[in-house]
Amino acid sequence: MEQLSNLVISDHELEAIRATLSKLLHDTSASTVMLLDKSGQVISNFGNGVRRNVTSLGALLAGAFSSSRQVAELLGEKDFRTIFQQGMHENIYTTLVEEQWLLVIVFDKLTHIGLVKVLSKKASDELVRVLARVKADTSRRKTSVINVEFRSSVEDTIDLLFRD
């Protein structure tokens, strides 16, 4: 399967993502809801559970998910589309949105896993629609951002910062 080389998320689509995450957070009483790209980058996050370590958390959760898909393959299983991690106080439910994004819900024992499963499925369906629009729109929007001036400025910054 050809992977996309870029994904460009517009204001409008981010607003749609945030509305979906916010509703999910509210309806499940979760402490945090995040949308990650499968490469580990955090697209959006809501709630107050993990704000400080959000970058590391994104990398680790995406890594764990990617690893579990390799486990599925070794077992001859088509795919594992969700992971549930259970702790003493906090639980994490991660589910795949198409082949591109991961929806992550962090919740405590006051929230029932069944509720999380059902509502995350609904949220995921909405995010699939957003993702389809984002993919369709990416190349058009990219040229408005990534131009010669931008590339040249980033190169200068790389020379300035990436040194001893």
Binding site: M1, E2, Q3, L4, S5, N6, L7, V8, I9, S10, D11, E13, L14, E15, D37, K38, S39, G40, Q41, I43, T55, S56, A59, L60, A62, G63, S66, S67, R69, Q70, V71, E73, L74, R141, K142, V145, I146, E149, F150, R151, S153, V154, E155, T157, I158, D159, L161, F162, R163, D164
Partner: protein
């Protein structure tokens, strides 16, 4: 896969350091972490075994700050080099925007390097990517060791695509930033 978030004015890119066990991938990241301006780096995360071999990956986020209105971030990852972790390497490669192939220059590691680069080529094909059209640089590491093969030999057999290659002694930092600058620029050029 680079993520360009117009709404939050952020760009994220993922760079993966690939290579055989003990070739110096983690050492590259550790040197960057130690030497770069602390204001632009986040915490380095290592998932290692008790003997400090990489088990899953190392992770180092770098933040260039706002450039031309966009906050630009590079996330550096290493793969575990040991042969038994091949599936984990594929998991970490997922979504990469650029790859640094770190070569252990020692003659006795030559065959292992050849196998590792063949494995990388295979994985990239599985991910639907062609290394010939992908941000990719080589690093000839451990140039200080007595059994290091001459660079022209490494270049002939391991760098068939003639991508940019850098001599390095990662443990003392030689070549580490030159490699990082090259792969970062290559990733930005491909955005």
């Amino acid at each position: 896969m680079a993520l360009i978030n117009i709404a939050t004015h952020e760009i994220h890119c993922k760079i993966v350091y690939y290579g055989i066990g003990y070739c110096g991938k983690t050492t590259n990241l550790q040197y960057v972490y130690k030497s770069i301006n602390p204001a632009i780096r986040g915490e380095m995360l290592s998932i290692a075994t008790e003997t400090e071999r990489t088990l899953f990956f190392d992770f180092l986020p770098l933040d260039l700050g706002t450039v031309h209105g966009f906050r630009t971030r590079f996330h550096l990852y290493t793969v575990p080099g040991q042969i038994l972790y091949e599936r984990t390497r594929l998991a970490v490669l997922n979504g990469a925007d650029g790859i640094v192939f770190v070569v252990d220059s020692q003659a006795e590691k030559f065959e292992e390097n050849v196998q590792s680069i063949a494995e990388l080529e295979m994985y990239m094909r599985r991910l639907g990517k062609d290394l010939s059209h992908f941000p990719f640089v080589m690093q000839w590491n451990k140039r200080d060791l007595p059994s290091a093969l001459p660079v022209h030999v490494l270049d002939r057999y391991l760098n068939r695509r003639r991508v940019p290659a850098f001599e390095a002694v990662a443990s003392s930092g030689i070549g580490v930033f030159a490699t990082l600058r090259a792969i970062s620029k290559s990733v930005i050029a491909q955005l």
